[in-house]
Structures are given as structure tokens and as C-alpha cells.
Amino acid sequence: MNKFRTILTGLALAGVLVAPPAEAATTIRVHAGESISAAIEKAEAGATIEVEPGVYHEALTIDTPGITLRGIVKGTQRPVLDGEGKLNDGVIASGSPFTMTGFGVKHYKGNGVSAQGVDGVYLSDLVVDDAGLYGVYPVQSRNITITHCTVTRIVDAGIYVGESNHALVAYNEVHHNVAGIEIENTNDAIVRDNLTYENTAGILVFVLPGKRQKEGKRTRVFRNWSIRNNTPNFGDPHSIVGQLPEGIGIMVMGADDTVVEDNWVKDNQSVGILVNRLAKEHAQKDERLEPFADRNQIRFNYVLENGRKPHALFQEQLGQGGDFAWDGTGDGNCVSLPDQAVHAGAPLPACPEAAPAPTEREESALPTVAPQAAEPAVIPEGSAVVQIRGMRYEPMHLTIAVGQTVTWVNEDGVTHTVTSGDGTMPVPGPLASSFLEKGQIYSHTFDDRGNYEYLCLPHIGQIGMREATITVQ
């Protein structure tokens, strides 16, 4: 670019974002033992930083636009950011867009990965454990996709999206956090095909005070599993999430026009799906906030066996737990429940047959980054193989010897899992793959005799994708 033009462009753009240069993007490789921060420091706008498996005791700050942090995943090996309980945050990113895939992130005091004011946040295949207040935390951002992440033992929300617009949260496995997934003061989010279990609460769609973006509208929550979210709250008792009673599957608080459909919500002790207002004591802090939950549609969901042992708070306010509960505030809400479901709290009309209005932007407009194994997946030597193709496990039933390994290979163009199951329900068990993309594999070694049944979470409805077995003799 000639200098004169640079000056002109500079003049035109001074004070606003300057577009990253158009030169060909570079790739920087970080080998185990080297510093990722040093690579970030050198990286130009648009660069890809590839990181080899290894442990990196670093806190990364990424202000350069267009950076991709790509962890090289070799079988079970991946680069891990480890704060050792001493560093504050795994990653803080401000440059737009920001992409990160293929990392482990653990033991930070503040947070796992946060993106602050970023347009284009693409996070995939991150394994975040015990990383502080939040696992992944895009805030005041837009065009966000969070897919294929596993997030555990987080003190507030495992996956949080706040004050943002247009987000896709899909195929994540989120467990043993206080909140599994929290969509807060955010418009047009899609939360689908996630597995949330054994959190204090599974999926939250909230509107909270003290934020610049006052609304949370049009979130769609569908085809998720929100199961056994009965872990006693271990959050900060001063925070709103830290005060949640345990045993909640899905909760819509203060948000509007949410659609909750086709989710499996089971064994949450207090309430399966809850629709309520933001409590007055919080709402009155922000007079510009509309604290009621309006026009939310709780359409058909598989709500089963929730509310069997409600937290005292529910016992007190609703007299009982249930598969569904509404606090009786807000306008235009509806619910369609299966016949046997227990409806606690105030009654609500059934939802109209007609499909709800689509979100403002179609999901296809949000580019996702598929997690990709840089090296071809290696099937362990001596392993038996189950292929997943054409919406079937092949073979459906396999018999092996004690101590043998089985490897599943996804050959379909869609996402599958290998998840311990009982009929059409996922259950805790030894088989717990993450969400497998085409070409990805999952292996498990069976050390005990028995009959191991499993299913594919996204495709429980398909005959060839449930009640498959491994028999160990």
C-alpha cells in the first residue's frame, strides 16, 4: 500500500476501527515448551497460531484483530492452558473476529476464555475445567458460535453469553458447574443439541439489572438434554446465580419471546422448566429494565420425573416441585406439556400450533468452526471398530473380550455421540464421547464384564442410533 493512500485511509478512519491489512494471512507454529504469548505478540492481523500439544502456563491477551488460535489435537493429546490456580484468565480477546479451537483450559482464578466487544467469536472444541467464575464468556459481542466444548466445575456459568446479539451454542457438554449455559441480556441466541447435567441449574435465559443492553429476546432452546441438575450451589452467595436453588433444568427469567422446544428435561429435583420474573429486589436497581417474562413459548418437551425433591424455596413458593412451573407474572406465555407432566404454580394456556416466528438472523448466517483433528485420527492397535454411517452404528451389537478397546469412527457428515443410554434416555455410564464430527473417533477400553448400552444424543429418534450394545465377556 503506498504511503499516500495510507495517510488518506488513516485520515478517514482515525478514531474508528482500521481494517486489518489485506496481505496473505500468516501461520505461526508454537512447539511444546515455547511461549504462545510470544507468538501472539508477533502475530499480524489475520494470523493463525497453531499450538502443539503440551502444557502452557500462560495467560493470553489477544488484541490483534482476526487471530485464530488453533490447538493441534493428536488423539487424546492437545495443548492445555494451565493457570495453576495462580494466573487470572486463560484468554482475554478484544480483536474481531476471534477464533479458538482445540485447547484445554484449566485452573484459572478469573475465567477461562473471554471475548469482550468482539464481532465474530468462534469457539470450538475447548475443554474447560475449573477455570474460575466462567468457562467461556463472550460479552458485549456479536455473531458468536460456541460448539463442541466441554465445560466443567465452573463457579458461575460454564458457558455464558452476555449483552450480545446473534449467538449459536450447540453440541456442548456442560456439567458440574453452578449454571450450565447462561444466556443473559442477549437477543437472538440459539441453544441447541447441548448436554447439560449435574449442574445446579442446566440452562438459564436471564435478564439481569445493571447492564447496558436491557433486553433478552428471541432465544431458542431446543433439542438439549438437561438432566439431574441437582448439584448444591457452590457459587458466590452474593451473586444472583450463586443464589439459585439446585434442581433446575431450564429457567427463563425476565426474558421475552423465548421458545423452548423438544428438549429432554429429566430428573431435576426442583423444577424441570421454570418461567418467572426477575425478583423485585433486583429489578428495582434498574428502572429501565422490564423484569417480566413475556410471550415465552414452552412448546413440547420431554419433561420427565422432575420436581421430586424440591428445594425448600420452591416448596415454600409453589407448594411443590414439578416438571413445569410459572410464577404467574408476565403476559402471553404458554406451555404445552405431555399428559403425565406435573404443572406447578399458576396455570398457563397451551401454545398455538403455529410455529413461532424465526429469530432475526438465521442460524446459517453464523459461520461455525468445525473442530478438526490436524492429524488423521489413529485407531489404537488391536481395537475393535464400530463405524457410524448412514445414521447407524455398525455393528449395532458387538461382543468383545475383557480389556479390549472399541473405537467408534464417525463417517457421517453430521454430528454424532457415543453416550451411555437406556432406551431413549442418556444415563451416567462409561461411554461419554464428546460431539464427534465427520472423521473424528472415540475410543474406550472395557475392563469389566457386562452389557453396555449406548445411544447418539442428537439422534435418539433414529432407530439405528439407540439401544446399541457392547457386550464384554
Partner: protein, 349 residues
């Protein structure tokens, strides 16, 4: 922004050819009517001229001193006759971007704000009719109002006094600190400690960034951090239940120059401020938990990290728009004359 500043910026950008970072966020537009050079100059003179106060002793600049980034260095301001006011005088830099003014957010524009100190009996105690009469009797003011509000039927009015002062205040922008240069891509603008401090500021451990938001380092929100005081803040000004103890989030631009801190000036240094937040704000001080926002909670950082954070706060200083203090004002009254009060130990101006 001045054209010269714009040019300098463009040249700097061309010189290092560095693309902006993700921190380079556009400022909100300056609110209210666009200033003209005549009104700004008139406003500057009025800002420093004690003629506006009832007893001709007190100007805006007494409490908003240019060399202290328009704060006054006191815990709480000294009003008419040496009366101790209830609150700390904030900086005026970047007030032009704010949605509301005062610690309790009670004014919606700079014009509305200026009426506060002008009319308050314990501050400037101005009588609008008297002020207009005094100014009309001073030929230079009459001429300057005539020029600044030429198209108006009544150029010299109390309303136009306020408009001129507000025009002047709209030129007090601060957006070229070393932090801003770093944000625009000059990596050498911050040293290693300041950069660590910036990262800490954006950490979910400290959560500073969630309230003191980029790029103004304030936000149009009512928040409580738990400074113990009997001041009801926003709850008192607006009579809204549940908002007692909440205050406007102050800007941190030029914060290194504006000690002491908080609405009551109760924290003397930035060290004290950071120590306060580290322990969870007012949580250990017996302040009712409902008055403290959930983002304020004890956090664990090392002492060297606390120093980094403070170093970063120092990098938010930019006083390049500081106006000249006029050697004389049209009234002929002394500019920034030291005020002495029999009743008070404080004799500084």
C-alpha cells in the same frame, strides 16, 4: 476532534503502519448542541470568572481546577463561605460524552448541570437577573454574547450563559492517553507493567472493565460498590426504592490526577482504591449487601499485580485539551483568587 489532532493521528498511524487493536473503540458522539469557537471562548471566560457568583468570589474553576484535570484535590468541595459540601468534585474531561451528570445522575445535559452550582445557595448563589445585569454592564461580555448568539433576539440571557459554559465543556475531551495510542496499535505506548495492569483490568477476577467500560471508562449505569456513607446517592435524588447507595460510575480517564476518590472523597490514593476493591468493596465494612453490585467481591491478586493495575490507571492520563487559564477575565475580578474563611482551616483556593 481538532483537525490537527486528526492529522497527527493519521501521520502516527502511517509512521508505524500498525493496524488498530480490538481496544480501539469509537467514542459515543458528543451530546447536545455543537460548540462554535465564539461560544467556547465566551464559555471559557465565564468558567473562570467569579462574576457569576452572588458574592463575586467563586468561579466554576475554583472547584474544577484545570491543573487537577478539573477536580479540586479536596475530599469534598468547599462551597460559599467555606461550607463543606457533601460530595467530591469530579473531573470535567469527557463529561461531553455522558448521558447523565452528577454522582447521582440527576442532570441530563451539561446545560441542566451548570444550573446546579450556579443557583445553589451554598455554591455560587447566583441570581439570574443579577448575573445578566452584571454581564450586560461589561462591554466585552456584551460584545462576546452578541457575536456568539448573533441570530438570537436576546443574545445575553441567563440561558445563554449556561449554553456558552456547556460549549466550553464540550471541548474538554481526553482521548489521546498512552492507553489510546496503544489501542490504536502503538505497542510501545505502554510498558510491560502497564500492559499487565490493562489485562488485569479486563480480568473476570477484578471485573473492573464491566463497570468502567471502554472507551470512556465509565458507563451510564447506577452501581453500588459499597463506599460507606450516609449519602443515598441515586436513591435519594430520584426517590426510587432499592437504589440507595448507588452512584454513577465515574470515568477513570485522568484518574491519576484527580485524587481523592469516590463520591465522598474518602479514599485518598489509588492504592487505597485498589485495596478497597481487593477486599470486596464495602462488603467487609458493614455496608448492606443489597447496596453492593455482584461484580464487586473480594479477589485475590498479588501485590505486584496491584501495582500493575495502578500503573495502568496512570496511563489513562491525557490533558492535551487543557485550556489556558485566562490571565484576566472581562469583569476584572481576580482569577482563581485564594479564598479565606474565618470558619475553616482550609485556605487553599
Amino acid at each position: 476532534m481538532h483537525l490537527s489532532r486528526l492529522l497527527a493521528l493519521a501521520l502516527a498511524a502511517a509512521a508505524c503502519l500498525a493496524p488498530a487493536t480490538g481496544l480501539d473503540r469509537p467514542f459515543p458522539p458528543v451530546r447536545g448542541e455543537a460548540p462554535t469557537p465564539e461560544r467556547v471562548e465566551l464559555g471559557r471566560l465565564l468558567f473562570f470568572d467569579p462574576v457569576l457568583s452572588g458574592d463575586r468570589s467563586l468561579s466554576c474553576a475554583h472547584c474544577h481546577r484545570p491543573e487537577l484535570a478539573f477536580s479540586d484535590g479536596r475530599k469534598t468541595a468547599l462551597g460559599a463561605g467555606g461550607a463543606q459540601l457533601a460530595r467530591n468534585a469530579p473531573t470535567l474531561y469527557n463529561a461531553a460524552f455522558k448521558e447523565s451528570l452528577f454522582w447521582d445522575r440527576r442532570a441530563g445535559s451539561l446545560e441542566e448541570q451548570a444550573l446546579g452550582p450556579l443557583l445553589a445557595s451554598d455554591e455560587m448563589a447566583a441570581d439570574p437577573a443579577v448575573v445578566v445585569a452584571r454581564l450586560a454592564a461589561i462591554p466585552e461580555y456584551a460584545r462576546r454574547f452578541e457575536a456568539a448568539f448573533a441570530s438570537e433576539a436576546e443574545p445575553l440571557s441567563f440561558g445563554n450563559v449556561v449554553r456558552a459554559i456547556a460549549s466550553f465543556e464540550r471541548t474538554l475531551v481526553s482521548q489521546d492517553s498512552r492507553y489510546d495510542r496503544f489501542a490504536r496499535g502503538d505497542r510501545s505506548a505502554l510498558d510491560a507493567s502497564e500492559r499487565r495492569g490493562l489485562t488485569l483490568f479486563r480480568s473476570l477476577n477484578t471485573r473492573c472493565f464491566e463497570c468502567h467500560q471502554l472507551p470512556t471508562f465509565e458507563a451510564p449505569l447506577a452501581m453500588g460498590v459499597g463506599v460507606p456513607s450516609s449519602d443515598r446517592g441515586i436513591g435519594g435524588a430520584h426517590g426510587r426504592p432499592g437504589q440507595d447507595g448507588l452512584f454513577a460510575i465515574p470515568t477513570l480517564r485522568n484518574v491519576a490526577v484527580t485524587a481523592p476518590y469516590m463520591h465522598d472523597g474518602s479514599l485518598a490514593t489509588l492504592d487505597e482504591v485498589v485495596a478497597f476493591y481487593r477486599k470486596g468493596g464495602g462488603r467487609p465494612l458493614g455496608v448492606e449487601p443489597g447496596r453492593i453490585h455482584e461484580h464487586v467481591r473480594p479477589f485475590d491478586i498479588r501485590d505486584d499485580e496491584a501495582r500493575d493495575l495502578i500503573a495502568f490507571l496512570h496511563a489513562l492520563t491525557d490533558e492535551s485539551a487543557r485550556p489556558e487559564t485566562p490571565a484576566a477575565v472581562p469583569s476584572g475580578l481576580p482569577v482563581l483568587r485564594e479564598r479565606r474563611f474565618a470558619s475553616s482551616e482550609e485556605t487553599r483556593p
